[in-house]
Symmetry: C2
Subunit: 604 residues, 2 copies
């Protein structure tokens, strides 16, 4: 070992990177990146707080402390104690949420659903005649007769219900609450148990999960987590690549995701004092690739033109067929996908924001690595997807990071002085999406960059680094890792590419719909990033058109809200399916005006 050799440590899912010497530990790497891990013992190896998982690269053999702390299976799966592990190569690490001292910001907020409950699964309480030698009707016949006596049709029993029915009826002394879904029995529970539903928004980066009482529509618990697939690729394209390069890739990505969802369900149920057997129905939304990877569908054809979804129609899958552990007969409803890059999450958002049913003239968009845009006019809907890239997720930005504690989320430059606000008001670690948008906007306003995005060497704060101009947002004196946080010319360029892609999509849809800026009645911005951005910065950089402030609506996780609407209401589910069928999809890459408009939109 050459102690002076320097290795690069990638810290996922935070999206930060550090460089450490061979005689330093992974805990040192986390500290260098400003990421705080749980360490009650101060790195002596006995508190087991700093467990991390090595995704790629080589480390020193496990120490005695680690062999004590971790099982053989855990060691085999790459789990190590960060305070004990030293690099022998560049390393890519996954940090489990429980090892992070401060939790990441997760996107579970959003409009509370206000629809009238009209759930697909309804409760029926039954008292069933006990069998005797004179009345040896089968269990299913007894239940069917009790249901018919209660005014229902003879039911269908799915296999997973049949395997447990005999035991249930006898331990429950021939009383039961059935969860009935259009004549099919999906749950057999003790009398009067509330029926619950699960709504999930699978983002490429984050997961949001909601537990809802089906009868009232009330959200009884919500939680979030990082999408564990991030360890296999930051964006949808790299995840598709992973499935192409690994024989079991699709299975691995599906299993990791569902495993995390099962943990979220357990946490939600614990919070609500319920059991997963009460969860009789689920609605899962996500972009088309997340939709396919969740459902175990092939994604290869989504990775190359013409980007065709395997499935675009609404799907009702058995939860157990995809490995989700809910009530034995529970279904998962997946709303329709519109196209390869306009998925069920956009449908859910469009449903929650009334885009699917309005006669008004609206623009609605959900900003992410791909930004989906819809425009409505006169009851018609046009949609497209813009390749806005991961800059707003903090990726491809020199000091970029996700919206975690210590991320700079607001920037003001007043009289040449930089004012910062970080998430959790912690010492700055890096810049997240809203911060970099603010920074570029303020640099533009202050004349630190020009219309083309070029840094002006003579302006205060601008200096040379590695032979290129850069602007210092935070000096080593104030940052968590005691290194400066800067904005480079390349960072500015990434923002230009992103905002130009979004603006081009908006403008082409407006042109297709024949809508002028003045006619836009509301400009709806959904999603995690969209909830935190400063609309003024978005207008100043040219990402959004220059509309009166009051026309902008930042609605948070509208996809999650839409999912909850579809969970509790058959009518909302039908509205989503009908609305999605009416959408006119516009493929930007072959649109005649695309290149010209995009080139123009690159300027500030």
């Amino acid at each position: 070992m050459n102690p002076s050799k320097i290795y690069r440590i990638d810290l996922e899912p935070i999206g930060r990177r550090a460089e450490i010497a061979a005689d330093e530990t992974l805990l040192d790497a986390a500290r260098a990146a400003g990421v705080e891990l749980v360490t009650l013992c101060g790195g002596e190896g006995w508190c087991y707080g700093c467990v991390v998982q090595v995704l790629t690269g080589n480390l020193n053999p496990p120490t005695a402390a680690e062999r004590e702390a971790l099982s053989d299976q855990e060691l085999a799966a790459g789990f190590r104690l960060a305070c004990q592990a030293r690099p022998l190569s560049d390393i890519k690490l996954n940090i489990p949420p429980e090892s992070l001292a401060a939790q990441q910001r997760l996107q579970v907020e959003g409009q509370e659903t206000t629809v009238r409950p009209d759930p697909l699964v309804v409760p029926v309480d039954l008292n069933i005649a006990e069998p005797t030698l004179d009345d040896p009707r089968s269990d299913t016949t007894r239940v069917a007769h009790a249901l018919i006596a209660a005014g229902h049709a003879p039911p269908v029993f799915p296999h997973a219900i049949l395997t447990g029915l005999a035991g249930r009826l006898r331990t429950q002394h021939w009383t039961a609450r059935l969860g009935l879904r259009g004549g099919e029995v999906v749950a057999v529970l003790p009398a009067a148990t509330p029926l619950l539903g699960l709504a999930v928004d699978i983002g490429t980066t984050k997961l949001a999960a909601y537990l809802v009482e089906l009868e009232t529509g009330r959200t009884v618990a919500k939680t979030g987590a990082m999408n564990p697939q991030i360890a296999y690729g930051e964006d949808v394209v790299s995840r598709i690549s992973y499935t192409l390069e690994h024989t079991d890739g699709r299975t691995t990505l599906q299993a990791r995701l569902v495993d995390t969802l099962n943990h979220l369900v357990a946490a939600l149920c614990e919070e609500a004092g319920a059991s997963r057997g009460q969860v009789c129905e689920a609605v899962v939304v996500g972009n088309t690739v997340m939709h396919h990877l969740f459902a175990g569908l092939p994604v290869a054809q989504l990775g190359r033109a013409p980007y065709v979804p395997a499935v675009s129609e609404p799907l009702d899958l058995r939860a157990r067929d995809v490995g989700l552990e809910l009530a034995p007969g529970a279904y998962v409803h997946l709303p329709p996908n519109i196209a390869g890059y306009v998925g069920a999450d956009h449908v859910a958002m469009a449903l929650a924001t009334e885009v699917l049913e309005t006669d008004r003239t609206l623009v609605a968009l959900d900003i992410g690595t791909n930004t989906e845009v819809s425009v409505t006019r006169g009851g018609r809907i046009w949609s497209c997807s813009c390749a806005s890239g991961p800059a707003f997720e903090g990726a491809h930005i020199r000091d970029g990071m996700r919206a975690a504690p210590g991320a700079i989320e607001r920037v003001q430059i007043i009289d040449g002085r930089v004012h910062l606000k970080t998430i959790g008001n912690q010492p700055p670690v890096g810049i997240c999406g809203s911060g970099i948008l603010d920074a570029v906007s303020e640099m533009l306003r202050s004349g630190i960059i020009d219309r083309r995005g070029a840094l002006q060497a003579e302006m205060p704060g601008v200096s040379m680094g590695d032979g290129l101009l850069l602007f210092t947002l935070a000096t080593p004196a104030v940052t968590a890792h005691e290194r400066p946080i800067v904005v480079t010319r390349k960072d500015i360029n990434e923002i230009q590419l992103a905002k130009a892609a979004i603006r081009t999509g908006v403008e082409i849809l407006l042109a297709e719909a024949g809508v002028s800026h003045d006619e836009i009645e509301a400009f709806i911005v959904a999603g995690a990033f969209g909830a935190y951005i400063d609309v003024v910065s978005a207008i100043r950089t040219g990402m959004f058109p220059n509309l009166p402030m009051e026309r902008f609506q930042q609605v948070g996780n509208a996809a999650g809200a839409g999912a909850r609407q579809m969970l509790v209401s058959a009518e909302r589910r039908a509205a989503a399916a009908a609305g999605a069928r009416r959408v006119q999809y516009v493929e930007l890459t072959v649109h005649p005006q695309f290149t010209q408009r995009y080139m123009k939109a690159l300027y500030f």
Copy 2:
């Protein structure tokens, strides 16, 4: 080791027993029992022909030859070479079919199905438009549009089809033959591939499986095997006990059965030059316990009064939900059960023999450990189950065995001399069911036993053994194991109990239906045993009523024939369901006339 210690070796599934000394091998035990195993090497341990599986008991540690021949997993699962293994205790052995030098007689014959094909799964050949950037409809939408253009309704795609559809369409260059089942896609195959179906009769002892061309109804391959569950209990009661005494018992029995069925499907497909992906539908029949164990349903409640089936209605299960490997979306249809001991196999038999639809006056029965009887009159049907016991399977009979090579299947006593016929014309090994029935009938005719079944000490062939009278059928000079084959008083008693149970069931149903013997137009005897018995012996012993010979019909495996009818015809399936609903089940154990009639029927 005490070499003179004697151990008892049970040889399953043959149903033979041998006693050997501690220094003898399991191969010696098989030879002593007259069961020939494959031994090319003469017991030196290098041909690996005599592989057996130890179910219970202890043996010497594996020898070098066995460690060479068998993998660690095989050794762990109890597999040994019979020529190398010596007992340290009493042993229960399972002999895999491939280790038997002569194959057992399996029951796959039966009436060929003659119904007009009207299958539930129909083929649709499609040419599908290939996607482009101007036409990026999803794969499912393209298939749906092609189906609609061909005059079909929009289809449902089950999850297992969706996971492979994208790949299939592309490797098949956008042509496909779909297997369509009432609007649901169950298979996606290359154009013009024939669609096949699987019919299975799960007997407690034997399995019969048929591969059928759905479009023509033609049986393209058939095969049989022992029911592997026999290693866990000879009859349904002991299998129910096994599930109660072992936590994973139900899972084990289900998995062993389905594993064997999957092997049978592979063999059938190989014989027919087909792939299992072509098998788009299955029909499985069996008694209620076999039905439940196949479907993974609880059986505890079938083991105690009031003997209630978990399910009596017809079931359509996904083949993959029970582990059966057919086309991805294939269903398994299970016809209805009538009661705990009148199962779907009796319904299938009743369908094939027209019992379910006739206006004639019929008796139909399927003889086994439980014998199911139906009586029809004026379009009505009465059914019951008789606890006839395992005597006709060769069990509980001193020299009894199943219908395997060397089993005595015909007995004649002419002028005091015994004439025998064995299966395969091999030296006698034991007596199977038809043989013992013949023997008792002939002993009765010759006055060797009296009306009560008592052996007459003065008759030739009757001697004392172990302090009891017995009759010698075959002397050591002619038998395979050089020991006599005899009929004891206890054997005769077992036959009395069995025939009395059957006759009582028949008589009580006739009384319920108000049918006199003269009015019986046909007396239908189905099943493996029923196909081989001598009707005269059955009448002489009093098992069957004394009707003119021409009214008896021995129809072989009518349950298998009924299963094939339901496989190829939706109309036949509906007829079975409707017929089963009309059956009036008669519970013999609580019938007021049962005890009196049974006592009377015990006499010859």
